[in-house]
């Protein structure tokens, strides 16, 4: 870390759910990983749909400098409107009741996500890793008109992964817009396919819907699916949501560093 945070607090802001008990799990896991490193005086998790709510969480924070990191996949409605409004933020750095609240970028947009995606792709195939020169990697998002930022982020990551040359191909695919994930077999000719969902938690979309769209199961809850699944003489591996990857804890810390760097630049410019 570029700054000492032993007197500071970290607040991870996630979506949460009133329907799915496991939605908040990745946010808690990353929070715990950071707690265990003893970098911050306190670590808190807060949610839109679970308690503590964004609106309330700062009341239970004692530190005078507070970093808020949205555990969201892209900028959009939640990071630009809901979180700032509910926390009462006035900008990237806010003064609230004499405390300094530093609002960081969301997890999904940090450049180090490229490494996280590659790690997830490598870990899902494990020891049976296919020849990368005969493998296509798909990064899958939801894709709606609601938030085109997440679509943009996926294309950026696809570009960056393509530049590494790690796999024969890297492509974007979506649940509800072209190119459709359900057409994966037409989108690539490679004999091996790895699919990584660009979602924060294994919610309904990444856990239940995408495997059905991929055609690797009829119903995940009843039948599960195999990794790899053989389809038309080709092998397909499906990973869990990118947000469940333990490396995200490092991404969160990198976002804190980035906010500190930005602040430093701003203050040196003002000087």
């Amino acid at each position: 870390m570029i700054r000492d945070h032993r007197n500071d607090a970290l607040v991870l802001a996630g979506h949460g759910s009133t329907l799915n008990a496991d939605s908040s799990l990745p946010t808690y896991r990353h929070g715990d990983a950071i707690r265990d490193r003893g970098i911050f005086a306190e670590v808190h998790e807060a949610f839109w749909k679970e308690e503590p709510h964004f609106r309330d969480v700062l009341r239970q924070v004692e530190s005078e400098r507070i970093y808020v990191v949205p555990n969201f996949i892209s900028e959009g409605y939640f990071t630009e409107q809901v979180i700032p409004r509910e926390l009462g933020l006035t900008g990237k750095v806010s003064r609230l009741d004499g405390r300094e609240v530093i609002y960081c970028d969301p997890v999904g947009i940090h450049p180090s996500m490229t490494g996280v995606l590659l790690e997830r792709a490598a870990s899902v195939t494990g020891e049976a890793a296919p020849d990368p020169a005969a493998t296509a990697l798909f990064i899958v998002g939801h894709g709606t008109s609601l938030n085109q930022n997440s679509v943009k982020i996926i294309y950026e990551q696809v570009e960056l992964i393509g530049q590494t040359g790690r796999y024969a191909e890297c492509q974007a695919a979506f649940m509800e817009q072209e190119p459709l994930v359900s057409k994966w077999a037409e989108l690539t000719k490679q004999p091996n396919v790895i699919v990584v969902p660009f979602f924060i938690a294994d919610g309904l979309h990444s856990y239940e819907d995408i495997p059905v769209l991929l055609g690797i199961t009829e119903n995940v809850r009843e039948h599960g699916f195999r990794n790899p699944t053989e389809r038309g003489g080709r092998k397909l591996w499906y990973a869990t949501a990118i947000g469940t990857e333990p490396m995200i804890a490092d991404v969160i810390l990198a976002l804190v560093d980035r906010a500190d760097e930005n602040q430093r630049t701003v203050s040196s410019m003002a000087a």
């Binding site: 009133t18 329907l19 939605s23 749909k49 679970e50 308690e51 503590p52 239970q60």
Partner: protein, 198 residues
């Protein structure tokens, strides 16, 4: 703002026999034990505070508990021995912001948000909540807050005046939660109060 120490002081003064919602806290500094009020001392406490996240997740009948103040915390679990910090972490999981709300209320610093302000702030799918009628609000308060939640509501209608004496720590609600706001949306749309969407 000091939140934790005033609470710990209260707890020490309660002589290790405090009640907080469905929990009772016994023991002494460094050796706090959290138990369910319906359990005796035979339940073996788990020393890891993070287990509290599993505890609060599902009710005894296996259903998910999105409302932490709901009076359906399952008996049969206990946590401890916990040090001060672990105790506070566990309480922040089981009853989020309850320690802070109580401390702030006692010092007169807890801000209470009228429902109209909460409703007026909503955007997106919850913007419609700003159009709620007093009758509809009344029904949601009765059907969600008063029927399901143990918290004492500090906002109208039918705001409560909490008791601060004794060895029970208050569970306070200074502002409508998202679950209640979502129920208002359902009410306005003529759906059942439990019709939740994420």
């Amino acid at each position: 703002m000091k939140i934790n120490e005033p609470f710990l002081q209260w707890l020490r003064e309660a002589g290790g026999a405090a009640v907080l919602g469905q929990l009772r806290i016994s023991g002494k500094p460094g050796e706090w034990i959290i138990r369910h009020c319906d359990d005796g001392d035979e339940v073996v406490p788990d020393p890891h505070w993070r287990v509290a996240r599993e505890w609060v997740k599902v009710a005894a009948d296996g259903t998910y508990r999105p409302l932490k103040g709901e009076g359906n915390l399952a008996p049969g679990r206990a946590l401890g021995p916990l040090d001060d910090r672990e105790l506070l972490e566990a309480l922040n999981v089981i009853y989020p912001t309850t320690v802070a709300n109580g401390v702030l209320f006692r010092s007169g610093a807890l801000r209470i948000t009228p429902f109209a302000e909460t409703a007026g702030r909503q955007t997106g799918m919850y913007r419609i909540v700003g159009t709620i009628t007093p009758e509809q609000l009344d029904e949601v308060v009765a059907g969600v807050c008063e029927r399901r939640c143990l918290k004492q509501r500090l906002w109208e209608p039918r705001a409560k005046v909490p008791e601060l004496e004794g060895t029970a720590w208050p569970l306070l609600c200074p502002e409508a939660c998202n679950l209640m706001v979502a129920a208002c949306r359902a009410k306005i749309k003529g759906q059942p109060l439990t019709a939740t969407e994420d």
